[in-house]
Point group: C2
Chain length 416, copies 2
């Protein structure tokens, strides 16, 4: 795809977004149902295309875990369709009035939610993201430029074709949902298309996110890197601490809200660290630690330099003993990616101190960080978990896919 | 200032921000009053330094309008101090709970306002921005890295020294407010200091804003470019249209919410355009127009290519005749910077159509765009007017200088 091809596509998406911004909720919900039906109707084409993608990936020696992410089957396709239908059941964020007031001279001012416009999503292998992101964009009134990975190209083409068929069936512009094709240079065009693309959201690994954040002149919402900590306070219920630790580490180790580092209060370290290592080892987790831990449990793998700074995203966990809650907070400040940080304590003062001094998208008391998720929060949809401070922080759902505008009504008001 | 000097300064600001985030409103208000008092106490030093800046600027042949912006006097200094005191009277945005709910399993979730952290502000000549920005940052719990222009360096040094004295007097870290000195390369360091600087806000002309937006890897809030339009509908009260047009154009032509282009409905153009040109000319405004206007008023200056795309920021105004509200909206979509767009009409349907289809930070009905301002909206403080869609759009006050965090409280909750 040449430079002008992408720009033409983005301009067409902009036109579609202009119309979409004015649609009622009923029209958008009708479109979501039509998209779901069209996706199910295209099952044979989608699964054939996916088989071709899988064959190509296998021939290229792709790892099994990646193949699993890439693979579609009738059940996954049905889940994609159900996801679109579920979006139809959610309230429309557009038009919500966030503030409304009158000035002393009688100007009436209201701040209302409006769509962002054209949203670009750059993501990796999973083709279910294609339907998911298209649906969330549509419900929030945004046209979507979907830049999936080349490994899922055939699958994404058939999915997007089906979604566009659904849009056309209800009389909407198919350019509301677009697959961005072409080589690496097209990603560059997308990242610098200021004025055409309103926001870029990368969904994927740390490398992808870093590349988009540093290469874009279009505003970016950073998602997903989670170097999450759990602090076991001196006043913790140790059984609860173990339960939550195991859940946060092992329930799904590859995701951003999984636990990566445990910090243990010095006064309970001698009893807790051995229990912890035993429980984690029994669950298949390898514990890594500096001398504060290895001196209590010689079986622990010595932690290398920088090991407290990165996500494992695997059945590995870093551990360290700290003097108190303040040293725990200091460790988190130095190493955290600002995603989800947890304290286990029965002490209210300590809990309050942790909550107020830890700076992260989510701070948890006596609960697993795996709950930091749009679905678990009851938002019904999630486009990602923002770890930046601007615009949206934490699970991003429909409201986070909007902007606002001020409407000012006067009766001939001029400024003195 | 070498690379490491700026990074040291930013790190010190980060430490200050960590403490600042936990301060009560009383402590912050006490600091604002101390900063105001210290600024007044330093009047002689500040005015001497300002005189030196002015002399240097005059010697360099700086334009009178720039000298006016640079100049301080006792009255302006007092206004700066009063600005800080006024901030103390405003509510603290930090700690406000935006959402609070429980999940079906009893997790208690709340979303609370927290500071952004370290805010970098890059701005042009006016030294009053230094106190203003420092105060807004402090009240919203953010440490400030202030990058003023070299032309105001001596003034800014004395202002920042006074503000830091005020902070120290009440026992706070002076690194809460910092002047960033050094050559152009330091601006580059500031723009790429991801992880040290949480957000950059450029305040100034279009060139400065463009440079910061395209050169930064730190998230930026774009402020200030306003290519604002006013549409005179067929159902407009023409006297009201003239009054509002004159106010929006001439009350302060150099600012971003001043009017730049008038669009006139074709059906009233023949009577309205001559009246408009006469009134504007009498007010010292030069009207520029394409053939749709020059054919009605030969005295109008023919508009050159691109003239509908830029701000004049002077007593010049572009004009064009359009077929109807839809053509007016199309013109605005093609040429607007998304700041403030106005319709003058007595027709409710037309007003609604304009309000719903124009995509801008503010859309006005029968009122001057000069009202789009934090002060006029009653926000009490303003750091700029955002023309981007992410995070904040329109006048940015204290709430817009914050982020949020989710606090999740459980009783041992783990995810199934």
């Amino acid at each position: 795809m040449s430079h002008s091809d992408f720009h033409d596509q983005a301009r067409a998406a902009r036109e579609a977004a202009h119309v979409l911004a004015g649609l009622t909720r009923s029209r958008k919900d009708q479109a979501l149902h039509a998209m779901a039906a069209a996706l199910l109707a295209a099952q044979d084409e989608v699964l054939d295309a996916n088989a071709a993608d899988l064959e190509r990936a296998k021939a290229a020696g792709t790892a099994q875990s990646m193949l699993d992410r890439l693979a579609l089957d009738p059940a996954r396709l049905e889940a994609m369709a159900r996801g679109l239908q579920d979006l139809a059941a959610l309230a429309d964020p557009i038009g919500e009035t966030l503030r409304g007031f009158s000035t002393p001279d009688g100007l009436q001012i209201s701040q209302v939610r409006v769509p962002l416009g054209v949203v670009g999503i750059i993501y990796e292998a999973r083709p279910n993201v294609t339907a998911d992101a298209a649906g969330i964009c549509l419900k929030s009134g945004n046209a979507a430029l979907l830049r999936g990975s080349s490994s899922a190209l055939e699958s994404n083409r058939t999915v997007v074709a089906a979604l566009r068929n659904g849009l056309e069936e209800v009389g909407l512009d198919p350019n509301t949902v677009n697959l961005v094709e072409g080589g690496r240079e097209v990603t560059g065009e997308m990242m610098t298309a200021r004025g055409l693309v309103d926001v870029l959201i990368p969904r994927g690994g740390a490398g992808l996110i870093e590349a988009v954040v540093t290469g874009s002149t279009v505003p970016v919402i950073e998602t997903g890197t989670g170097n999450c900590h759990l602090f076991v306070d001196v006043d913790a219920d140790q059984d609860m601490a173990l339960r939550i630790m195991l859940n946060a580490k092992t329930q799904r180790p590859s995701v951003c809200n999984a636990l990566e580092t445990v910090l243990v209060h010095r006064k309970v370290a001698e009893t807790f660290v051995p229990r912890m290592v035993q429980a984690l080892t029994a669950a298949g987790v390898t514990v890594h630690g500096d001398e504060s831990v290895t001196c209590l449990e010689p079986g622990v793998v010595p932690a290398g330099p920088g090991e407290y700074d990165a996500e494992y995203l695997s059945l590995d966990l870093a551990a360290r003993v700290v003097a108190d809650v303040d040293e725990a907070v200091d460790h988190i400040r130095a190493h955290s990616s600002g995603h989800s940080e947890t304290i286990i304590t029965g002490n209210l003062v300590t809990a309050d101190r942790f909550v107020s001094t830890v700076d992260a998208a989510a701070v948890l008391v006596n609960a697993s960080s795996r709950f930091v998720d749009g679905g678990e929060f009851g938002f019904g949809a999630e486009i990602g978990i923002s770890t930046q401070k601007l615009h949206a922080r934490g699970p991003m759902a429909l409201a986070e896919m909007t902007s606002t505008k001020y409407v000012v009504r006067g009766q001939g008001h001029v400024r003195a």
